[in-house]
Structures are given as structure tokens and as C-alpha cells.
């Protein structure tokens, strides 16, 4: 079994960098390159670096929306204070203009900055450590090629004691394992490529593995899902068929979800919509398929129990279901179908949709309150949108309709209470 990245800490970060080639894949492509003629030009390397930077989603944290590319300064609220991403343009004074490729690789690989400072694990070095030297060099060449922006880094605003970087030594001992991705020779080239992308540049486990009170995530619970701190979205388990476990998904449905943003099984919203918009839509069909193959192979186990009544009494559950059914037929059925079958892929199915039935009801409650658009992508440039109902439904009505969709048509989610619905009215939206 391959080793999972232990990343997290400040989870809500969503970067994704690239994909490494497993050494033997590299060897294969080198052979092809030699057979075809001269080695790749500098322009080729920059182009490959741009692709890898997309796979690593550097832009999500290192560019403020609407601001200059990679100029940093994006605030990242965490339970420990606010971090500000640094400027990674090639400006000599405020960016990485004076860095060497060695120093860049060392930062990616060890989580130490050029001056030796330990990086906060908002930078997913626990995943990026798996990136190969060749890929790191290509990303660096690309970053050196973008327009330099003079913008000094904004100091982090972390509370005591988290502002003491020496504490990170302990954190690293517990949660950081340095080392490039080692391919599993018992698996296919495609599987290894997918593992390299998911566990390395993709840094998927930053959100899809729960973090503990120390802001660390344990390998033993890799990809088992968790609430994303500060964002109040639930990143579902990728290892449970009861959540977003992909055991019974087809490869093309998984690939559609990742690359297109919608699929016949469901669509992405919230933080995952950002990942698709900034990163995954740009990946090649082959790479997305490799990720799908790897994700589908993750061991499926346990996961959340469902079908219980949660915090809701049996009588209350009956009342919620009856009221919810009426609201559903009046407000939801025209798009999602009388029996939750949806109009695929644009109006997602609700029946047999794992994300509706998960133990955490955070995502379905949020969708009812705030609606949402799937991301606009190359393969789905004009997505459909779900309207918000926060202003037209009471807490009781939201609880009722979410209870209904979680328990109707054979769905096995637990009912939700008005209190749970109310708590998410004040969740951060943006």
C-alpha cells in the first residue's frame, strides 16, 4: 500500500500542485524524447511547469481573486490566527527572484524556506515532498517566467503560542514524513501516476483527512473525511461508500466530477468547486483518469453509520419528513425530479447520492440555504445554478426538507434539526 501524505494542520487550504512522474514513467518519457530528438527546450520546461503548477493549484492560495498572478497576500483564516500567502513572483526583493532551483526544491521537499525558517503547514509540504526533482524544477522555471510583482509579504497574524515557529518542530515530528513518491511496483503505471498526483501535487488529503486538535492529520485515517475548519464545509471520506467513497462509481463519472465539475452521480460546490475551477479542469484526460483509477482503488471501509435518528425524536422525524415532502414537491422536484432522480448531469440526483446522506449534514444544509453554481470549466462552460433558500425557508422548513432528502427514496441519512440548520446561517460564505 502506498503511503498517504500526512498534511493538514490548517486544512482549509486548497492548493494543488502537480503530478510527479513515477521514475519509471519518467524513464519511459525520456526514452521517447531521445527517440524523437533533442531534449526539451527551456520553453517546453516552462510549459510543463505551468501544467504542474495547475495540478498543484498554487494559484488558489498565492493569488488574490482579481489581483496579479502569484503576488500572494491572500488571507487564510485558521483556528490559530490568519496567515497570508507569500509573493511567489520572480521579483528580486519581494518575491522569489533570488531563489535557485535547489532552494526551491529544498522548500518543496523539506518544508523549510530559503532562510531556513520552518513553513507553516498551510503550505502543503507534507504532500509536495513527494514531488520529483524534475517536476519541482519545471514548476520553478515556470514561476521564474511570470511577470515579477513588487509586493512585500504581509506578516502572519497568529496568536500566541502559534506564532512561535519552533513549535513546528514537534508538529513535524508527529505529522511530516519527508520523501519523494515511491511507485508501487505491484500496481499499474496509470495507478502510480494517479497516486503521485493525488498524494503529491494534488494534496487532496489536506481536506479529505480529518485534522485533530493539534492541526495534524494521521495516516491511519487518511482520506476518511472531515469538516474543513473555518469554512464549514464537510470534505467527505474518499474511503467509505457511504460518503464519497468511489468504490461503486465508474471511472468516467469520477473523471467527470474532477475535470468537468458535474457528473451523473453529483456535482462539486464550495471548496471543491474552487479546486476544479483553478486546478483540475486544466489536467489532461490521461492524468484525470489516472487520479480516478487511484481514487477508486482506495480501500473502502466503515465510514459513518447512518439510518439513525440523530438528535431528533421519532415523532419529530415523522413530522419533519411530512413537511419536508411537501416543500420538496413544491420547491425542488421541478429540477431534482419527483423521486430525486435529477436531470443528469446538470440537475444532480439526490436519490442514492452519497453526499446527501453522509453523517455530517453540513453540505446539504448549506446547499439549501445558499444554493450554488457548479464551477464553469472547459468541459462545462455554462453551469446551472441552485437558488438559495435562506431567505424563503425557516429553520424548521430547512430541517424538514433536508431530513426528507436524506431519508426518502431509500436514502439512509439521519434527520436534521432546526438548530443544525440555524447554526449554518452564519457560516462564512466567501
Amino acid at each position: 500500500m502506498t503511503e498517504y501524505p500526512v498534511s493538514a494542520f490548517f486544512l482549509f487550504l486548497r492548493h494543488r500542485l502537480t503530478s510527479l512522474y513515477a521514475p519509471f514513467v519518467l524513464a519511459a518519457s525520456c526514452t521517447v524524447a531521445f527517440a524523437q530528438g533533442p531534449s526539451p527546450t527551456a520553453a517546453d520546461t516552462v510549459k510543463r511547469g505551468e501544467y504542474l503548477a495547475r495540478a498543484g493549484d498554487c494559484i488558489a492560495c498565492h493569488t488574490k481573486p482579481g489581483d496579479k498572478l502569484f503576488s500572494g497576500g491572500r488571507p487564510m483564516p485558521t483556528p490559530f490566527g490568519t496567515l497570508y500567502s507569500p509573493n511567489i513572483t520572480p521579483d528580486n526583493e519581494t518575491g522569489i527572484g533570488q531563489w535557485s532551483a535547489d532552494e526551491f526544491y529544498s522548500m518543496m521537499h523539506t518544508g523549510r524556506s530559503r532562510d531556513g525558517a520552518l513553513l507553516y503547514p498551510a503550505m502543503p509540504f507534507g504532500a509536495y515532498t513527494k514531488v520529483t526533482r524534475a517536476d519541482s524544477d519545471a514548476i520553478f522555471a515556470y514561476l521564474k517566467s511570470v511577470p515579477p510583482v513588487r509586493q512585500p509579504n504581509r506578516p502572519h497574524e497568529l496568536r500566541f503560542p502559534y506564532n512561535n515557529r519552533q513549535l513546528l518542530i514537534g508538529w513535524r515530528t508527529l505529522y511530516f514524513h519527508e520523501g519523494e513518491y515511491q511507485p508501487d511496483p505491484t500496481r499499474s503505471v496509470e495507478w502510480n501516476r494517479g497516486a503521485y498526483l493525488v498524494d503529491g501535487l494534488g494534496h487532496c488529503s489536506m481536506c479529505h483527512t480529518a485534522i485533530n486538535a493539534l492541526g495534524g492529520s494521521s495516516e491511519s485515517t487518511a482520506f476518511e473525511g472531515g469538516l474543513i475548519p473555518m469554512q464549514d464545509w464537510y470534505a467527505p471520506s474518499l474511503t467509505s461508500n457511504k460518503e464519497a467513497g468511489l468504490g461503486d462509481w465508474t471511472i468516467s463519472d469520477i473523471a467527470d466530477l474532477l475535470q468537468k465539475g458535474v457528473s451523473r452521480r453529483g456535482a462539486v460546490y464550495g471548496p471543491m468547486a474552487e479546486v476544479v475551477y483553478d486546478s483540475l479542469q486544466y489536467l489532461s484526460d490521461d492524468d484525470v483518469r489516472a487520479m480516478a483509477v487511484y481514487l477508486k482503488s482506495l480501500p473502502q471501509h466503515g465510514g459513518a453509520t447512518s439510518g439513525s435518528n440523530g438528535n431528533v425524536s421519532r415523532e419529530e422525524r415523522g413530522l419533519l419528513f411530512t413537511l419536508g415532502g411537501k416543500i420538496y414537491q413544491a420547491q425542488c422536484a421541478s429540477c431534482h425530479g419527483k423521486s430525486g432522480e435529477g436531470k443528469l448531469p446538470d440537475f444532480p440526483p439526490l436519490a442514492n447520492n452519497q453526499s446527501i446522506q453522509m453523517t455530517s449534514a453540513v453540505n446539504p444544509i448549506r446547499m439549501v440555504l445558499n444554493g450554488g453554481y457548479a464551477p464553469g470549466t472547459a468541459r462545462n462552460p455554462m453551469p446551472y445554478g441552485m437558488p438559495p433558500f435562506a431567505q424563503s425557508l425557516t429553520d424548521d422548513e430547512v430541517a424538514a426538507v433536508v431530513t426528507y432528502i436524506r431519508t426518502a427514496w431509500g436514502n439512509r441519512g439521519a434527520p436534521v434539526s432546526a438548530k443544525e440548520a440555524n447554526a449554518l446561517r452564519s457560516a462564512a460564505l466567501y
Binding site: 481573486p65 474552487e274 444554493g371 453554481y373 462564512a428
Partner: protein, 235 residues
Amino acid sequence: MLRRTVAVALSCLVWMSMARAEDRVGERAPDTMEARVLGCAACHGGHGEGTNNDYFPRLAGKPAGYLYNQLIAFRDGQRQYPPMNYLLAYLPDAYLRKIADYFAAQRPPYPPPLTPAIPAALLARGEQLVKSGDPANDIPACAACHGAALTGREPGIPGLLGLHAEYVSAQLGAWRYGTRKSVAPDCMHTVASRLSNDDITAVAAWLAASPGPANPAPVARGSLKLPLACGSEPQ
């Protein structure tokens, strides 16, 4: 015989599985902009006519350039209203342009004018500011930029009718305090900063009490010279 039975059974199976595959295809979402902007309809109405909520504005008939600028500003966070920022965060420019074009082309009826809840003298002040401005205080008439019929002007200046007074006064306040901004020179910041609180109440009430225009089309681009420079309406 047996062979034929098997063949028939097999072809039935093939046919059944094909039929089932067809069932699975099911009904598709309508391939229309109207269906795609259902996410907007709950607050702005299916055709952008607005709703009873005081703070969700009418969109229909506003110039596409204006609507596009607002969509971009909400998406990128320059104009802040979290429910809008959230909905638009991951939509590309080309699609926002289509959404703007859709609402700009809509012509739903205007709502009945609202009975103003302010004194007649203040309402008269509102009418004066809208139609003639206040030259002594260097305040141009709303109509000088937004068109004599207040239907806006291509490409970037919105129409002012069919909006609730609360929305108009909230926007004027936001322009004044800089929480709503435009590309420099920010003419609405300049104008709103010259208005008193009473002026804002008066203008908003008079606009909300006015009936919809006979012809809702915005004024053509460049047909009038603006009384002051506006970054969002290049001359």
C-alpha cells in the same frame, strides 16, 4: 429449437439492457439561459424583474455592460455581498457575459409604483435632484447620466426605475462611504459624497414612487456628454 430460444432470449436481453440504458439517460435539464439562471431567480425573479425583498434589485433591461461589471466585481470581491460573492466565485468571464446579456434583454413589466412615505416637500426635492440636480452644490441631475427617462445608458450606466427605495438609498450610502466602488474616476462616489442624508432619502423615495418608463430601452452609447468623468462609462 434450443438454439433459437437462446438466440431470442439473448436478443431480448440485449434489447432490455438497451432500453434500460435509455431509461438511465432520463430527462435532461433544458438547454436554455433561463434554466441556467435559476440560481438567480429566487432573489431577482426569473426574468430579472426583482422580488418583494427591498434589497434584491431588478436586473431586467439594465445595460449588459453594467450588469457584466457588477458580476465581475462580485466574483472578484470588489463589490461585497457574500451570497453573491459565493454564487459567482467560480464562473468564467465568458459565462458572466452571457448572464449579463440575458438579463439586459429581458422586458418584464415594471412593478406598480410605491406610495412614498415621506413629506411632500422632501419628495419635491427628490424630483428636483433627479431631473435638474442642484447646481449650487455641484450636484448633477441623475437624468444627465442615467437618461431622461432614467432607463440607463449603454454600456455601463444602469436604469433607476423599478427599484425599491431601500435599495437605492443603501447603494448611495455605499458609494459615499466607498464600500461600493467603481473604476477610477469613481463618479458615483463624487456625486454621492455631495448628497445629504435627506437628499438620499428624497431621491430614493421619488425614484421608487415613479412608474415604469414607456420605453425601457437604455439610451444609446455616446449619445450625450456626461457632466463628469466616469471610469465605468468611457467617453
